[in-house]
Amino acid sequence: MDMQVSFLDRLFDAGLLIDTGVDGLYGRSGQFESVIAAFERLIDTYGGADGAEAMRFPPGMNRAIFEKSGYMKSFPQLAGTVHSFCGGELDHMNLLKCMEVGDDWTKGQEATEIVLTPAACYPLYPTVAKRGNLPAEGALFDLQSYCFRHEPSQDPARQQLFRMREYVCMGTEQHVTDFRQLWMDRGVKMMKSVGLEVVIDVANDPFFGRAGKMMVNNQRDQNLKFELLIPITSTANPTACMSFNYHQDSFGTKWGLNLADGKVAHTACVGFGLERIALALFHTHGLDVKAWPESVRATLWG
């Protein structure tokens, strides 16, 4: 824990992250952002020629789609909903009075049609399903969004609002599992090219409760999720900086994503935790970007 706090403090002291008073909610400096931008360009050099269709959604998504996604079944503890004041003038007076005396003013807030996006690809599936059957060669998408997960922590690698870059592939089982393997190989190569030591391991999502334990076992038994791990705040427990997920036909069935021949599509996604990758670079090469190894600088900035 001390190690984690001290890395976070060093990041604050260096001005790379900016303290907001809330654990896991930080501002980023220009320097920090330039590392993220450079790494995203590196992702493009690997994936750009694949012809993915780029889409960018804001960090909030349609609540109805979120509800249908089943996120609350698996990760209720991580979700963030957007609530607003929807009352009249009298309610407003009461609200101000509540705030003035330090009572809970939020209890009258009402749910809006928006929830915070938990993963960059959530808004994608229903969007694609609306278009009708997928083209014969399947489909590939390039996404990036700030994502929210309610897990306050002083580990700078566990932020509540962070960016996820994703490629999502839809097609046959063979097509999407080949895609996942391709990116596992590319991921290792990319990280090596910027001087990061990595391991890939089978992984699971943080499913909630005892029922979640079964989901965890199922996910691991079937090798549905792999993570690319890099030491950031601990070498014993390295941090997942990329994940490689095979959803089988679960999203295809849920959203009505069909192949050209009408069969249910399989899907897979590859996610980059952009802040985590930047933090891994700062942790490995130091907080002064100018002092990073020349080969790493050349790979990132040319």
Binding site: G70, K73, R210, A211, K213, M214, M215, N217, N218, D221, Q222, S250
Partner: protein, 83 residues
């Protein structure tokens, strides 16, 4: 026990076909048991038999067929008696 399992499977399994027509050794995942439905089935079985599945039995194999579920339950009930 077989009957209780089938009853629960009908209630929470979300299977497209009737449970009565399933063989004891039919692969439940192949006939449409989702991960989430298997979790609901697990919780239903715990309530019906007043047991708790140990972590090492919370996996796909334990719920792969009606026969597998019977075997898992028998094992848990026996360990419960022993304890």
């Amino acid at each position: 026990m077989n009957e209780t399992i089938r009853e629960l499977l009908g209630k929470v399994g979300g299977l497209p076909g009737p449970v009565a027509e399933l063989a004891d050794d039919a692969d439940l995942y192949a006939v449409g048991l989702s991960s989430f439905a298997s979790v609901q089935l697990m919780l239903g079985l715990e309530e019906a038999f007043d047991i708790e599945f140990p972590d090492n039995l919370l996996n796909r194999k334990s719920f792969a067929s009606i026969a597998a579920i019977e075997q898992t339950l028998t094992h848990i009930l026996k360990s419960k008696e022993a304890a």
